[in-house]
């Protein structure tokens, strides 16, 4: 602990020292092979065209299939691109530790920092620091609280998941029936958004035609999903559909319904886009649809980081620069289109 505290400012001052050195005299960089990337920064965002782009990557520890896929996809994309050197750090579970970890990454003088902040608010200062050092930041999934802290932000559409699910339920149930909502972790933005989108859509489409008979959190984990759903099944004789906030958690909800032998009474939808969920959708039955919140966004973030370092934009866009915000739609996956997206499953 004390060693870490000592190291952080040390690393920081090293990083600043290197940057300052590059700023004073670009010729001195020639002598030091370790600081060639700093020289590239001096020419604005236009890095040299031939050298590899050095990308620092930080994400919280993989305590969930989705988070695991985020890191795996980033690594795979960096390998596939060829001209990207990835220095990745992962495994921390709290924001302070992630901030320390990012400081260490910054000391290695990357061209761009790609990060999935454990908490947007808590990681904003370190992102700000990177930006001030001339290292552009690409944030994934969770927004930083200061608009200047990140050069670009790519995220999924949590409200859209709820909204799409609500519309799907309205269509499938023809605005009639009893619905159960199994939420994620209570009190976090992801859960609030996925819940609000759903209730908004149902209210707007069906007024009071669809009744949400139970709405309980199960913390994104299958065993909690199982026991919460078991209790809800006890309380409700007729359930027509279940909206769950997460595919992994939905596995437990499915088990509860199948164990009670009530799978013909209702259908269920997930969120995220796990491979297991897509296989269930493909097979048909209880698990009818999921809405993508796809971890492939970390691979896109690596591509964006590379373009930012090179001072290029997307080929398909007229703008010469990478957009500062990208929201990936919550694609609806049903039996009809599951073939097309199953490779994206995690």
């Amino acid at each position: 602990m004390s060693l870490k505290r000592l190291m952080a400012p040390l690393c920081l001052s090293l990083a600043l020292g290197v940057a300052a050195c590059g700023g004073d005299d670009s010729e001195s960089d020639q002598a030091n092979t370790n600081t060639t990337t700093t020289q590239e920064e001096q020419g604005g965002t236009a890095a040299s065209q031939d050298g590899p782009v050095k990308i620092a990557f930080s994400a919280p520890g993989a305590d969930h299939g989705w988070m695991a896929a985020i890191t795996d996809n980033a690594r795979a994309e960096a390998d596939a691109l060829g001209d990207v050197e990835l220095i990745a750090a992962e495994g921390v579970t709290d924001s302070a530790a992630q901030a320390d970890q990012i400081e260490t990454l910054l000391a290695q003088d990357p061209d761009v920092l790609v990060m999935l902040p454990n908490e947007g608010d808590a990681l904003t200062p370190v992102a700000q620091k990177a930006t001030e050092q001339g290292i552009p930041v690409v944030a994934i999934d969770r927004a930083l609280s200061s608009p200047g802290a990140a050069r670009a932000f790519i995220t999924g559409d949590n409200y859209g998941i709820g909204w799409q699910a609500g519309n799907y339920f309205a269509d499938e149930l023809e605005c009639q029936g009893n619905v159960v909502e199994i939420q994620g972790i209570a009190g976090i933005q992801v859960t609030e958004d996925r819940s609000k989108g759903f209730t908004d859509a149902i209210k707007r489409r069906c007024q009071d035609g669809i009744e949400i008979v139970a709405s309980q959190p199960a913390d994104f984990v299958p065993d909690k999903g199982l026991s919460v759903m078991e209790n809800i099944l006890q309380a409700n004789d007729q359930i027509d559909a279940v909206y769950t906030h997460d595919d992994d958690m939905a596995e437990g909800v499915v088990a509860a319904i199948e164990n009670a032998n009530r799978q013909d009474e209702m259908f269920l939808t997930g969120a995220g886009g796990s491979k297991a969920a897509m296989e269930r959708i493909q097979a048909g039955g209880l698990f009818r649809a999921t809405f993508l919140y796809n971890p492939v966004m970390s691979a896109s973030a690596i591509r964006m980081a590379r373009l930012i370092a090179r001072g290029e934009g997307f080929e398909e866009l007229k703008e010469p620069e990478v957009p500062s915000q990208i929201v990936v739609p919550a694609t609806r996956v049903t039996q009809e289109n599951v073939e097309d997206v199953i490779d994206l499953g995690f």
């Binding site: 969930h64 009190g187 065993d223 199982l226 919460v228 006890q234 309380a235 596995e251 088990a255 297991a276």
Partner: protein, 322 residues
């Protein structure tokens, strides 16, 4: 607290249970009865049905088995913070044998549970690591192992009829998980209250030095309770996997807190030297009833959390009075 050193001094012939513990058990019976009455009034159609009551005990069985093992650990004055993570590791270890049948799954789960429990045991009994730290280390290590071995993916055990029987089967209308839980509780009661081993466990927790002087191999006793906890983890892992029809590396989160809370609310002293299996059983049932009733009522989660906290506090206060 006073019984244990006395027991140790008088040797093995002394009965461990005290009057205080009996009173606490009766108090908890009153708490359970109160919840049942309140529930029957608030949710007349769905709460006090035989179906739902079996559902409650079935849900209690996983944490229940863990809490039984935890009772022995806490009786020695120790703690095991790793049981939740170890449940995930044990079920994933079993899942590695998904193609070899249910028996191999069970062996794999037991092997991993006992192995990890044994590492805890060795570190605490012979390595002199404080139980809180040793099992905290295992808490993160076991979760990491589960994610690592499984490549972070759940393993479907849909074809393992034998394992799934533990989650979904029943005998004479009673769910198999309930039978396992009651069986484990009964065996543990005999072990703690009717054997020399049980008296040694209490004696070691009451006053280790006195127990040692009385001729008890205290290290071996302490070693054994963590292995026992690991064995209970394996049973819990089989129940969870059977229920979910899959072995998942992310199950078991914070089970240790539920288990510890049930043990303490049951009347076992956190400092050791005093333990009750019946109390633990009732403690587990109390928590399961509360969770069940609050979900049936579909209360908002924040109200559930406050209510749950108030009930825990009230239950402990009622015990202190009696």
């Amino acid at each position: 607290m006073t019984t244990a050193p006395e027991a140790a001094q008088k040797g093995v012939g002394v009965k461990a249970p005290s009057r205080r513990i009996e009173l606490q058990e009766y108090a908890l019976v009153a708490v359970v009865a109160l919840i049942l009455i309140v529930g029957a009034i608030l949710e007349p159609g769905s709460f006090l049905t035989s179906d739902n009551m079996l559902n409650v005990v079935r849900q209690a069985s996983v944490v229940g088995v863990l809490a039984i093992g935890m009772t022995f650990v806490i009786a020695t004055g120790g703690i095991d913070l790793s049981v939740g993570s170890m449940v995930a590791a044990a079920s994933i270890a079993g899942g590695q044998f998904v193609d070899s049948g249910s028996f191999m799954f069970v062996l794999g789960a037991i092997g991993m549970g006992v192995l990890l429990g044994g590492i805890n045991a060795g570190a605490i009994a012979y390595g002199k690591v404080v139980p809180f730290i040793a099992t905290l280390a295992m808490f993160t290590m076991a979760r990491g192992l589960a994610l690592w071995i499984s490549d972070k993916q759940p393993i479907s055990i849909f074809n393992l009829e034998g394992v799934r029987w533990f989650g979904t089967g029943e005998i004479l209308g009673i769910p198999s998980a309930v039978i396992v839980f009651v069986l484990v509780t009964g065996l543990a009661w005999v072990l703690l209250n009717r054997t020399k081993y049980g008296r040694y466990v209490i004696a070691v927790g009451g006053n280790r030095e006195a127990a040692r002087i009385a001729g008890i191999n205290t290290k071996r006793i302490i070693f054994s309770v963590y292995v026992l906890s690991g064995f209970c983890v394996a049973i819990a892992a089989i129940l969870v996997a059977g229920r979910l029809s899959s072995a998942s590396p992310i199950v078991g989160n914070l089970y240790e807190l539920d288990a510890i809370a049930a043990v303490v609310i049951g009347g076992t002293a956190l400092a050791g030297g005093r333990a009750t299996i019946v109390g633990t059983f009732l403690g587990v049932i109390t928590f399961a009833l509360i969770f069940n009733l609050l979900t049936l009522m579909d209360l908002a989660v924040e109200i559930q959390q406050v209510t749950k906290g108030l009930i825990i506090l009230a239950a402990v206060l009622i015990q202190r009075r009696s």
